[in-house]
């Protein structure tokens, strides 16, 4: 009885005692303090969380699985770029494919035969050499798995495209010439997998096995993976290339952006995934002690497809009127806080084939009204814009468009959908407008333009404007199969001019890439095309 009457007090006391005890020292002070002394014996750092050997990366997107041929998730790419190697790679800020497993390659005159000479010292994590046979195995599997990677490769190669000349030489014969072929090999879909996977094929070509395991030759090995919490990479001690700088990489899932920000400010996180934090919050973070916002040019484009097969937007004059009624400067300034540029067309500035002379529509309300009047919409027009939730940039853009269009008598209703619903809506053509971001996987205008403008890509192929122009189709087909660079460039320029005239899309902005990181992170370069390629093996930490 005695105890019974006292237990509430007892527990309250216990809780207070625990809190007080905890308060006597900073959480983790002693353990982290020991870890902070670097091997060179420099004095303990001012931030107790500093550890030169360990890199803590935060992202808010979970990793679905690790199969290079089965995943379409950027968070997966980040891991497999580090755990596998490719024939070619994109290094630093360059978008030119550089040799990786292939030390050199030759292309036949007709653009169909590619002969790759492999480096001879590359080894998979289990010690077996990376051979021509492994290359053949990987691409064949990519096609047979039939998922994301097959989408890129099955157009141009099949099981019979490979000829192993010797252990370290392989010839790949394309079904038809495909100019950007070498570029595609540097994407996350071109990773070379250890053929020993065959032992674990099961009934799904090893998909379920490989979604949890790594069978690559990259600078990092998978150490552990606590789903939804942390994925730990450890440096590969026998890496055939340059030794990786970071000993341990923790990829941590911090769902809530504000929590990630707090952890960065505290030094518990070294870098946050560049897509997590909105431009507005990044602006607030600038000037925080110990934190930097790394800025770089990117190939991402934010654009607005206009459904050319539906209602009023089928009329080119209405689309032109919309293009004239957007206050682009205000949009770039207030939504992107000036960290973006306006672009002309589907080819981002900086990439081969970019047309700087294509027609830009200026902000001209009178012109817009006139065009709408011509199209018979003098009395006003009601349209809908579909956006996906959880993206501040898109919702702010939509709000701004709404107030802009109001001025020319167009009522814009904003409809926000969950991502799956949004995707379904825009690929089946039930939308008027949409707002989408897009980053090409390889640096060739064929990539964006084929998706956006070829008639075969309508809807599910991501031609979300349902745009069709036979002249553009012909130019695209010629450009894809030609090896004549000048002709290709000319074709792509021409396509951008045609699209500027018919405005199936409005390309709202090409934003800068911005990665929030601790200022002690050195040697990180953001690749314009591939912001989820984080070269942990080249980054160092110095305080």
């Amino acid at each position: 009885m005695e105890f019974k009457t006292r237990w509430p007090k007892f527990f309250l006391f216990l809780i207070i005692a625990v809190l007080v005890l905890a308060g006597c020292q900073n959480y983790n002070e002693e353990t982290e303090g020991e870890g902070a002394a670097s091997p060179e014996g420099t004095p303990a750092e001012s931030n107790e969380n500093f550890d030169a050997e360990v890199f803590n990366f935060a992202t808010n997107q979970d990793i679905p699985g690790l199969d290079p041929h089965g995943s379409a998730a950027n968070t997966t790419f980040r891991v497999i770029y580090m755990t596998y190697d490719r024939l070619v790679t994109y290094d630093g800020t360059s978008t030119e494919p550089q040799p990786q497993l292939a030390e050199s390659w030759e292309v036949s005159d007709d653009g169909k035969e590619y002969t790759f000479k492999l480096v001879e010292n590359a080894k998979f994590h289990d010690g077996s050499p990376v051979t021509a046979e492994a290359v053949q195995y990987s691409f064949t599997r990519a096609i047979n798995v039939g998922k994301s990677a097959a989408g890129i490769f099955s157009k141009v190669i099949d099981e019979n495209s490979f000829e192993v000349i010797d252990d370290y030489t392989i010839k790949i014969t394309l079904k038809e010439p495909f100019a950007p072929f070498v570029s595609t090999l540097g994407t996350a879909f071109g990773n070379i997998i250890n053929p020993a996977l065959e032992e674990n094929h099961g009934d799904d070509l090893g998909e379920s096995f490989l979604s949890e395991e790594v069978m690559g030759s990259g600078p990092y090995m998978l150490d552990s993976w606590d789903r939804g919490e942390t994925l730990v990479l450890k440096a590969n001690p026998d890496y055939w290339g340059e030794a990786p700088t970071m000993e341990t990489v923790n990829i941590r899932f911090i769902t809530e952006a504000s929590t990630a920000r707090l952890m960065l400010e505290k030094g518990e996180i070294d870098m946050i995934d560049n897509t997590v934090i909105s431009p507005e919050v990044l602006g607030q973070m600038e000037g925080t002690e110990g934190v930097e916002i790394l800025e770089a040019d990117g190939y991402q484009i934010d654009y607005m497809p206009m459904n050319t097969e539906k209602g009023a937007l089928a009329d080119v004059r209405v689309r032109q009127a919309i293009a004239h009624s957007i206050n682009y400067d205000a949009l770039l300034e207030s939504v992107y806080l000036g960290k973006a540029e306006r672009i002309v067309g589907a080819v981002p500035k900086g990439m081969f084939g970019f047309n700087s002379d294509a027609k830009l529509y200026d902000y001209d309300l009178d012109k817009a009204k006139e065009l709408l009047k011509e199209a018979g919409h003098e009395s006003g027009l009601e349209l809908e814009i579909a956006i996906s939730e959880d993206n501040e940039v898109r919702s702010n853009t939509a709000l701004l468009l709404q107030s802009d269009l109001e001025k020319v008598g167009v009522t814009l209703n904003i409809k926000t959908y969950a991502w799956p619903t949004f995707l379904d809506l825009v690929t089946t053509g039930k939308h008027d407008f949409g707002l989408v971001s897009w980053t090409p996987d390889y640096p060739d205008p064929d990539y964006n333009l084929w998706y956006f403008a070829h008639s075969s890509s309508k809807g599910p192929g991501f031609n979300l404007a349902f745009y069709e122009n036979s002249e553009i189709d012909a130019l695209l087909e010629e450009g894809r199969t030609s090896t004549d660079e000048a002709l290709r460039e000319n074709n792509y320029m021409e396509i951008q001019n045609l699209m500027a005239e018919e405005v199936p899309y409005i390309f709202v902005a090409q934003p800068k890439l911005q990665a929030p990181l601790r200022s002690w992170v050195k040697g990180y370069e953001l690749n314009p095309m591939n912001s989820w390629y984080v070269p942990f093996h080249k980054i160092t930490k110095e305080e």
């Binding site: 527990f11 353990t31 929590t259 707090l262 952890m263 505290k266």
Partner: protein, 337 residues
């Protein structure tokens, strides 16, 4: 004997409830527009690839066939394969649910040891300072969005004071204890892994408080109002009159009679905490069912959504069953009815 018959009946009743829930969830999640195959394959997929995957996943069958196949699997203990993680849903649930269960239990513990005494104090000091204080406190707890409270706690205890960790279940770089129940505190206790136990408890404090804020408020208010009625009874006056110590009267006599509605509410509070864990898990990066469910919904991962819903339903039913059974022990009158 009565108690046993009661439990048996309730367990049997679970079956139609679960079937009802499964039909509802299945129907609702399948009416969401969207194509799971496309979400798996991404924008670069070929139309042939999409079609093949749809066929493979059985998405081309009529809805009732899909439901039939699913239910047939359930009775063999197979909840299907998550389209998102490519793993059996049962395995995923075993991995994610202990985290949520542990956090919810901890929150319920806080609710009990804070909510009930607060309610009792509040009732016995009606309209005095202690009562005003606890009433405001309870109101804030009920009214404050968990999301915002979580961030405030983080700002103060994690960023400013640095006394408590900010996210996850363990410190970065610490490996979890050997898997026994999946609940880190219990596993660490069983294996005698003290550093992990300490870290696991510390990591649970902020999310636990955040999650408990609402339920503490609920329980405090219910205890208070129930106790106010009881305190006016004759036998309480008698007890005081014969000179019994205050605490003994309050906790020994009054609470015993006043606690019945509180216990009913506890079952509901548990359900509330399970549901609320989705937001709290997001703020504190707690890798539990809530996070899993959100991912599953974003990928239209029907087997996973079904799995989570059914599991939460089962947990909720069982907890309420336990609560109802408790009546038999607390209120002897029920035994004779």
């Amino acid at each position: 004997m009565d108690a046993l018959r009661f439990i048996g009946k309730r367990l049997l009743l679970m079956i139609p409830i679960l079937i009802g829930i499964s039909i509802l969830t299945f129907a609702i999640s399948n009416t969401i527009p969207g194509d799971p195959a496309r979400l798996i394959l991404g924008p670069k997929a070929t139309p042939e690839g999409l079609e093949a995957l749809r066929e493979d996943m059985g998405l081309n069958d009529p809805l009732y066939v899909q439901y039939g196949n699913y239910m047939a699997g359930i009775f063999q203990g197979d909840l299907g394969k998550s389209t998102y993680s490519q793993r059996p849903v049962v395995e995923d649930l075993l991995r994610y649910s202990p985290a949520t269960f542990e956090l919810t239990m901890f929150a319920m513990f806080i609710t009990l040891v804070v909510g009930i005494p607060f309610g009792v104090i509040s009732a016995s000091r009606k309209d005095r300072i202690a009562d005003q204080f606890t009433r405001v406190f309870a109101l804030i707890g009920v009214a404050m969005p968990a999301f915002w409270l979580g961030l405030l706690l983080l700002l103060f205890f994690y960023l400013k004071l640095g006394v408590l960790p900010g996210s996850g279940r363990l410190d970065g770089g610490m490996s979890p204890p050997e898997y026994i129940t999946g609940m880190y505190t219990i596993d660490a206790l069983l294996t005698g892994n003290w550093p992990v136990l300490y870290a696991a408890v510390m990591h649970m404090i902020l999310p636990g408080i955040t999650l408990a804020a609402v339920t503490v408020g609920m329980i405090t208010r219910m205890t208070r109002s129930s106790m106010l009625t009881v305190l006016q009874s004759d036998y309480i006056r008698t007890a005081f009159a014969k000179g019994a110590p205050e605490n003994r009267v309050l906790y020994g006599h009054a609470l015993r009679n006043g606690i019945m509605p509180v216990i009913t509410l506890l079952g509901m509070a548990f359900g509330h905490a399970l549901g609320g864990s989705v937001l709290v898990e997001a703020v504190f990066s707690w890798p539990g069912l809530g996070q899993y469910a959100v991912n599953a919904i974003n990928y239209l991962d029907f087997p996973a959504v079904m799995g989570v819903t059914l599991l939460i339903a089962v947990m909720f039913i069982i907890v309420n069953l336990i609560v109802d059974t408790l009546y038999f022990f607390i209120d002897p009158r029920l035994k004779h009815n």
